[in-house]
C-alpha cells in the first residue's frame, strides 16, 4: 500500500530518489497514463490507446509498454531502452496531494507535493537528493515540482479531450490481437481507440472545431502511434528468442 506523506525539508532532508530504470524499482508496468500534450513524444515509441478507469468508468489515454500485466518490453539490464519515458512513469514516487489552507479567513484547497515513503525508489544512499545542505530545494526537486504541475494540467486536459471524444462518439472498443513468431496468439481486451470511420464522417463544422482545439492533431497522433504495436511485437519475439 502506498504511504504518501507531504514532502518537507526536515523529515526528508537526507532522502534520495533512485532514478535508475528497473523492474525492482517499479518500472515493470505494461502501460501508463498519458495526456495530449505528451502524445507527440509518446507516439514516437509507444502505441497510445484508451482505457476505462475501473473506479469511475471514465476513459483515459495510455501508452502501452507490453502485452500482459507486469510486462514492460522496454526494460533491460541497461535500463529503459527508449528515448522518452512518459512523465507518469518519471514522476514516481511522487504524487499530487491536496491540503486545505486558510488564507484571509477563506479556506481553499491547495495542491501539495507528496511522496510514497514505501516506494522502492525512496532511500538515503542512492540517487538524487531532494534538498540541499541547508534545506534549499535541489534542482531535481524543482524539476519534479515543474513536472507535477505539467501532470496536473495533463489530467485537466484529458478531461476536456475525453469529453469531446465522447460527445462526438469517436471512441470504439478494440481487441488488440497479436501473434508471436511461434504462432501463439494473445488478445488484449478493455482497450479503446479512435473510430476512424466516424472521424471521416464528421460534419465540417465539427471538424473545424477539432482543428481549432488542436484535438484533431492529438487524434492523428493516437492513430499514428498504433504502428508501434509491431515494434512491441518485435521486442517480445526477441525477448523470447523467436
Amino acid at each position: 500500500m502506498a504511504n504518501p506523506v507531504l514532502v518537507n525539508n526536515i523529515d526528508h532532508k537526507n532522502v534520495k530518489i533512485d532514478t535508475r530504470r528497473s523492474a525492482e524499482l517499479g518500472d515493470n508496468v505494461w502501460f501508463t497514463l498519458t495526456f495530449p500534450d505528451e502524445f507527440r513524444a509518446v507516439q514516437t515509441h509507444y502505441p497510445i490507446f484508451f482505457q476505462k478507469d475501473p473506479n469511475t468508468g471514465e476513459f483515459f489515454p495510455v501508452a502501452l509498454f507490453g502485452f500482459a500485466q507486469n510486462e514492460n518490453l522496454f526494460l533491460d539490464e541497461n535500463g529503459w531502452d527508449a528515448g522518452y519515458v512518459p512523465l507518469f512513469v518519471q514522476r514516481q514516487p511522487f504524487t499530487i496531494g491536496t491540503q486545505m489552507q486558510t488564507i484571509d479567513g477563506q479556506s481553499q484547497e491547495n495542491r501539495v507535493l507528496t511522496m510514497d515513503m514505501d516506494h522502492p525508489r525512496v532511500n538515503e544512499e542512492h540517487g538524487e537528493p531532494l534538498f540541499l545542505e541547508f534545506g534549499g530545494n535541489s534542482d531535481y526537486l524543482e524539476r519534479i515540482a515543474g513536472m507535477m504541475e505539467t501532470l496536473h494540467l495533463g489530467n485537466e486536459q484529458n478531461k476536456d479531450f475525453i469529453a469531446c471524444l465522447n460527445e462526438l462518439e469517436l471512441l470504439e472498443a478494440v481487441n488488440v490481437d497479436v501473434q508471436l513468431n511461434d504462432g501463439s496468439k494473445h488478445q488484449m481486451v478493455g482497450f479503446y481507440t479512435i473510430n476512424e470511420e466516424k472521424l471521416d464522417q464528421l460534419p465540417d463544422d465539427k471538424l473545424a472545431g477539432l482543428v481549432k482545439s488542436k484535438y484533431l492533431f492529438f487524434i492523428h497522433m493516437v492513430l499514428a502511434s498504433q504502428t508501434n504495436i509491431s515494434h512491441l511485437l518485435k521486442r517480445k519475439n526477441r525477448q523470447l528468442g523467436l
Binding site: 476505462k52 478507469d53 475501473p54 473506479n55 469511475t56 468508468g57 471514465e58 476513459f59 465522447n166 462518439e169 471512441l171 470504439e172 472498443a173 478493455g190 479503446y192
Partner: protein, 516 residues
C-alpha cells in the same frame, strides 16, 4: 403510398402516455423527418397515479431505443437496478422460506432443460441458485454490472426500480426536447366522433379542438375514451386474483449507506403480501390485500410490524400511508375503431410481477411496429392487437395465480381461498397437471412470444418446491453437473467482482455511464 394515419393523439400523460409517445416517436420518426405527428394531452390538474415502481428488463431496450442516456435516467429518476423478485414466506411462512425469480435465464436454457437434473438434488440445493448466477448477487445486494460496463450492458440481466413521479416528467422532457412530441397541457372536456363512433377529435379547455387519426387512451382509471366514450365492458378477474386494495408507504433509509435491494421483495402475509422496493433515496413499501379477507387496521398492523424489523418501531409507527384500490381485470376490447387503450385504462392487476409498465411497453411497441396505414388496415391490426393482448392479460392472471396455488399455507381464510381449486383458471389447472409429468419448458407454450418465458414458470414452480414425476431417462447428467459447477464458479466470481448497488449508483451519479 402516403399513409392516411399521420396524427396520433395520446390522451393522458403519466407513465403510460409518455412511454407510449416515446416509443412511437423513436420508431416512426427520425430527427430529420417527422412522418407522424404525435401529441400528448396531459391534464395539469390530475396527478399521475404512479403505478408500479418496478420494470422488466424490457425497459432497457425501451430507454435505449428512445436514445436516453442510462446514467441520466438512473440519477434523475431515483432509479436502481432490479434483478428479479424474491418471494418470502409463500410456501409455508416459516423461517428461511424464500426463493428467487431472477431475470437471468437458467444457464444454457435454450440448449438444455436443467430442471430434471437439478431435481435429484432438490433436498440440498435450491433451484434458482443451482441453475442461475443471479441469486448469489442479489443475496448480497450487489449490482448487475461494473462502472466500466457500457450503458445498458450487464453481467446479470436487469430492469429497474424507479420513482414513477420522477420518471414520467423525465420521459416527457426527452419526448418534447429530442423526439419532437407535442405536449398539450390541458384538460379534455368533450369527444367528437364520426358517424361510425370512431373519434374525430377531442375538445380541450384552452387549446380548442384537437383532431387525430389514431387516439391512444392513457387516461388511467378515468378511461376517458375506452370507457366513457366507447363504453367497452370491463372483464373482472377478481374470481382468480382477489386482492383489491393496497396501503403504500415511502420509507426513509436509516442512513445514506443503507444497502439497496437487488430485487423486489414480496413477503407473504395472512391476508395478502408486502412489496419492498429500494430506490436510491428511499424505499417504497406497500401491502396488497383482499378487502373481503381483512380490514385496513389489520393490514396496517402487518405493514408496521414488517417495517419495524428494518427501521425500528419508532420510525415504523411514524410513517403515513396512502390507500389505493385495485379493480383487477381488463377491458374486453382494448382497440376499438381508431382508439387503443394503454396503461391503467386497459386494465390492472396486483403488482406481483410488475406487469403494469411492461404491458405499456409491449402495447406501444406493437402499435409502433404494426402502425396502421389507413382505416381498413387499422381494422385488421385492431383485431389482432385485441387477440394478442387478451392472451397476454390472461397470461398475467395465470402466472400471478401460479404464485399462490403452490403454497402450503392454510393459516387463514385468505390462503385457503387463494389455493382452492374454484379460484383457479382452467388453463392453469391443466398446466399444473402437465408439470406433474414434465418440467416447464419451451414446448409447453401454446402461443408464440409468451409473456413470461418458460424459465419464469420453472423458477416459480420449483421455487415453491412443486413436484414433477420425471420418467424420462436423463442422458446428459454429466454435462448438467458440469453446468452446475460452472454456475457456482461464475456466481462466486461475480460476487467477488460486482460493486454494491449503492456504490455503483453513487458512482454513476458522479461519473455517468459510457455509451461504449
Amino acid at each position: 403510398m402516403v399513409s392516411e394515419i399521420n396524427k396520433v393523439v395520446i390522451v393522458g400523460g403519466g407513465t403510460a402516455g409518455w412511454i407510449t409517445a416515446g416509443i412511437l416517436a423513436a420508431k416512426l420518426n427520425t430527427p430529420q423527418q417527422k412522418l407522424i405527428d404525435i401529441s400528448v394531452i396531459e391534464s395539469p390538474d390530475i396527478p399521475a397515479i404512479g403505478v408500479g415502481e418496478g420494470t422488466w428488463p424490457t425497459m432497457r431496450d425501451t430507454l435505449k431505443s428512445m436514445g436516453i442516456n442510462e446514467g441520466e435516467f438512473l440519477s434523475q429518476c431515483d432509479a436502481s437496478f432490479k434483478q428479479g423478485s424474491k418471494f418470502i414466506g409463500w410456501l409455508n411462512g416459516e423461517a428461511n422460506d424464500a426463493y428467487y425469480h431472477p431475470f437471468s435465464l437458467p444457464t444454457k436454457f435454450h440448449e438444455i432443460n436443467l430442471a430434471p437434473y437439478w431435481y435429484e438434488h432438490k433436498s440440498t440445493h435450491n433451484f434458482a441458485s443451482t441453475v442461475c448466477h443471479q441469486p448469489a448477487i442479489c443475496e448480497q445486494n450487489l449490482a448487475p454490472k461494473q462502472i466500466t460496463a457500457p450503458q445498458y450492458a450487464f453481467a446479470a440481466n436487469y430492469g429497474y426500480h424507479l420513482d414513477a413521479g420522477k420518471f414520467a416528467p423525465f420521459i416527457r422532457n426527452h419526448c418534447t426536447e429530442r423526439l419532437g412530441v407535442d405536449h398539450i397541457s390541458d384538460e379534455v372536456t368533450a369527444i367528437k366522433s364520426h358517424p361510425n363512433r370512431a373519434i374525430e377529435s377531442v375538445v380541450t379547455k384552452r387549446h380548442g379542438t384537437v383532431k387525430g387519426d389514431l387516439f391512444i387512451d392513457c387516461s388511467g382509471l378515468h378511461g376517458l375514451l375506452i370507457d366513457k366514450h366507447f363504453e367497452v365492458p370491463f372483464n373482472s378477474v377478481k374470481q382468480y386474483l382477489f386482492n383489491d386494495s393496497a396501503l403504500a408507504m415511502q420509507v426513509p433509509y436509516s442512513d445514506e449507506d443503507s444497502p439497496i435491494l437487488s430485487t423486489t421483495n414480496a413477503t407473504a402475509q395472512d391476508c395478502g403480501w408486502i412489496w419492498d422496493i429500494g430506490l436510491q433515496s428511499r424505499r417504497g413499501v406497500g401491502h396488497v390485500f383482499s378487502s373481503a379477507h381483512a380490514d385496513v387496521s389489520q393490514v396496517e398492523r402487518n405493514l408496521r410490524q414488517y417495517l419495524a424489523q428494518s427501521v425500528g418501531t419508532k420510525v415504523s409507527e411514524s410513517l403515513e400511508f396512502r390507500q389505493l384500490s385495485i379493480n383487477p381485470g381488463y377491458r374486453q376490447q382494448l382497440w376499438v375503431e381508431n382508439c387503443v387503450a394503454v396503461g391503467l385504462s386497459a386494465g390492472f392487476v396486483e403488482p406481483l410481477e410488475a406487469s403494469a409498465i411492461a404491458l405499456i411497453e409491449l402495447s406501444a411497441k406493437y402499435i409502433a411496429s404494426q402502425f396502421p396505414q389507413n382505416p381498413s388496415h387499422m381494422a385488421i391490426i385492431a383485431r389482432r392487437f385485441n387477440k394478442k393482448f387478451e392472451q397476454r392479460w390472461h397470461q398475467v392472471v395465470e402466472f400471478l395465480k401460479l404464485h399462490y396455488v403452490l403454497s402450503n399455507r392454510r393459516d387463514s381464510d385468505y390462503w385457503q381461498d387463494a389455493c382452492s381449486a374454484e379460484t383457479q383458471p382452467e388453463s392453469l389447472k391443466e398446466k399444473l397437471q402437465l408439470w406433474q409429468h414434465q418440467a416447464p419448458y419451451h414446448f409447453d407454450s401454446e402461443h408464440t412470444e409468451e409473456l413470461f418465458p418458460a424459465a419464469s414458470n420453472q423458477f416459480i414452480y420449483y421455487g415453491m418446491m412443486a413436484e414433477t414425476n420425471f420418467a424420462m431417462p436423463t442422458k446428459q447428467t454429466q454435462y448438467a453437473h458440469q453446468l452446475f459447477d460452472d454456475n457456482q464458479q461464475l456466481s462466486q466470481k461475480l460476487v467477488a467482482a460486482m460493486p454494491s448497488n449503492r456504490e455503483l449508483l453513487n458512482k454513476i451519479r458522479q461519473h455517468g455511464l459510457a455509451k461504449i
